[in-house]
């Protein structure tokens, strides 16, 4: 007669870089139910919007999450720009696109490393993180920061990238692409990775849609949503198609992220080829008034920044909807019926970013 027991997982756990707590209801080794509880990193940064002037809040918005910091700052700026009647110059839009895609590259490589580590494949963790350093070098050279860039501002960007640096970035992409190809081969074909991930933590297309999954978690289950297709920043002038897989298991989520690395490299190449000359910022003409939802595609999925202003220098409300929080219901569904030993891999497969989720 199997016994039901509850095993606590987290908040401090060897496989988790960040604290989240799951109560796993087990029947022998099978997970019957997973009950998440969060709040270990909650800071309450949305309230700071009333204490900082709207151009200064960009710094706080960036620090919602240190991994996708640029995209947080950019999405906040996109929302505020609608309230202050500011049209961002073309060159700034292309620069934002380039930095967004470099952020995605470093985020996906970071995830691939952590995923390999969760599988016990330490060599692959090292290989992914070594490649990630060459992406961070570009971010540091062009913005001044490795993980928190601070290069986006309301009305444009804080600094330009000179032509010769763009040229160097373009040739650097060839090296990144070649080395990413070697790593990708292991993630896509290695037997031990496939045996640990295929058929594990399956999320059906219907569940992904009904539970509101976003980003690679949704795309791995056959739901082809990618906010970049809405054409914000300069994405409307670049051609790409979202990576969609149909298996819905941990390996499919891994495949989506591996393939997106190459999509990102291609997008940066296109953006460098098409970037126009011109100014990189425009001054806001008035204080923010009204409210607006801005959406963008973060490495983990759809990100929404809502802002509301009353015509003063301070906004009245900021609300951030982050992809990890949106993906938690899907995670609970994936964990149902899995083995206890697969829990770390499944938790990591949604690329949890608790810093974002709890803000």
């Amino acid at each position: 007669m199997p016994r039901r027991i509850v095993v606590p997982f987290g908040p401090q756990h060897p496989v988790l870089p960040e604290p989240i707590h799951l109560d796993l209801v087990l029947k022998d080794e099978h997970v019957e139910e997973a009950l998440p509880s969060i709040g270990y990193i909650h800071r309450g940064l949305e309230t700071l919007v009333t204490r900082r002037e709207y151009p200064e809040y960009v710094y706080i918005a960036e620090r919602t999450c240190g991994i996708c910091s640029f995209i947080h700052g950019m999405t906040y700026c996109q929302a505020v720009e609608k309230l202050v009647d500011c049209s961002v110059p073309e060159r700034a839009l292309f620069l934002r696109t380039i930095w967004s895609e470099y952020s995605r590259l470093h985020s996906h490589l970071l995830w691939l490393g952590l995923f390999a580590d969760a599988l016990g494949f330490e060599n692959l963790f090292m290989a992914s993180w070594r490649l990630r350093e060459s992406v961070l070098d570009v971010l540091e050279e062009t913005t001044g920061g490795r993980v928190i860039q601070g290069s986006c501002k309301v009305g444009g960007v804080r600094r330009d990238i000179p032509g010769e640096t763009l040229e160097r970035m373009r040739s650097g992409l060839d090296t990144i692409e070649r080395e990413a190809g070697e790593i990708a081969d292991v993630f896509l074909r290695d037997d031990s990775i496939i045996s640990r991930t295929r058929g594990i933590g399956v999320l059906s297309r219907e569940d992904a849609y009904a539970l509101g999954a976003v980003g690679p978690t949704a795309r791995a289950s056959g739901v082809g949503i990618d906010l970049r297709k809405t054409g914000y920043a300069a994405y409307g002038r670049l051609s790409f198609s979202p990576v969609v897989e149909t298996a819905g298991d941990c390996h499919a989520r891994c495949i989506v992220r591996v393939k997106e690395i190459f999509t990102s490299i291609d997008l940066i190449r296109q953006a460098i080829a098409k970037i126009p000359d011109g100014p990189v910022e425009e001054k806001p003409k008035k204080n923010p008034e009204g409210d607006y939802f801005a959406r963008s595609e973060q490495p983990r999925g759809e990100l929404v920044h809502y802002v509301k202003g009353d015509g003063s220098r301070h906004l009245v409300r900021s609300r951030i909807r982050t992809p990890t929080l949106t993906n938690l219901p899907s995670l609970v569904r994936m964990l149902k019926g899995c083995n206890l030993a697969d829990v770390p891999v499944i938790v990591l497969s949604i690329d949890p970013c608790i810093g974002c989720a709890e803000r």
Binding site: Q12, P17, Y40, H42, I60, S69, R130, E133
Partner: protein
């Protein structure tokens, strides 16, 4: 590095950081920075750890978690607060849920500034902490192990 007589194990905990410092702590393990050349190994078990590396400030929900982890670590132990949030609360110190820096809950030996702290400064902070660790160990030996008493056990693993 003559004072480094053994291999220190590091436990990393994210208190309420934005992840920026966390991924820089992890970057220290990657081939470019490679702290394992100092014999430093990242562990997930508080009972194996000599150095507690904390990123982010203390908030209402994690104060007991941080205290619990600290108390589970065997003596001698050192605490490194990484990033401005762990030192003082940083940009989030005015937030309603943030209590302040790590030192409002547990004693901190080394403060590493930066937002996000760079891997070089994190490594520097940990190496400084190792000198403190050696010092604490020597004092414990001189006291005949008496200073070791009083560390409550946190339950078996």
């Amino acid at each position: 590095m003559s004072y480094l007589s053994r291999s220190p194990w590091v436990l990393h905990y994210d208190a309420s950081s934005c992840n920026g410092c966390d991924i820089e702590v992890l970057a220290c393990l990657s081939p470019l920075y490679d702290v394992e050349r100092f014999g430093i190994i990242n562990t997930g078990n508080p009972k194996h750890a000599d150095v507690l590396v904390i990123t982010g400030g203390i908030n209402e929900q994690n104060r007991e978690v941080v205290r619990n982890i600290y108390e589970q670590m065997p003596d001698p132990k050192v605490v490194v607060a990484v990033g401005i949030c762990a030192c003082t609360g940083g940009v989030f110190r005015e937030c309603y849920n943030v209590v302040g820096g790590i030192d409002c809950i547990i004693p901190v030996d080394v403060y590493v500034p930066g937002c996000a702290a760079r891997p070089e400064s994190i490594i520097d902070g940990i190496v400084r902490a190792l000198a403190v660790l050696e010092d604490k160990k020597r004092r414990m030996e001189n006291a005949g192990g008496k200073e070791q008493a009083g560390s409550p056990a946190g339950g078996a693993q």
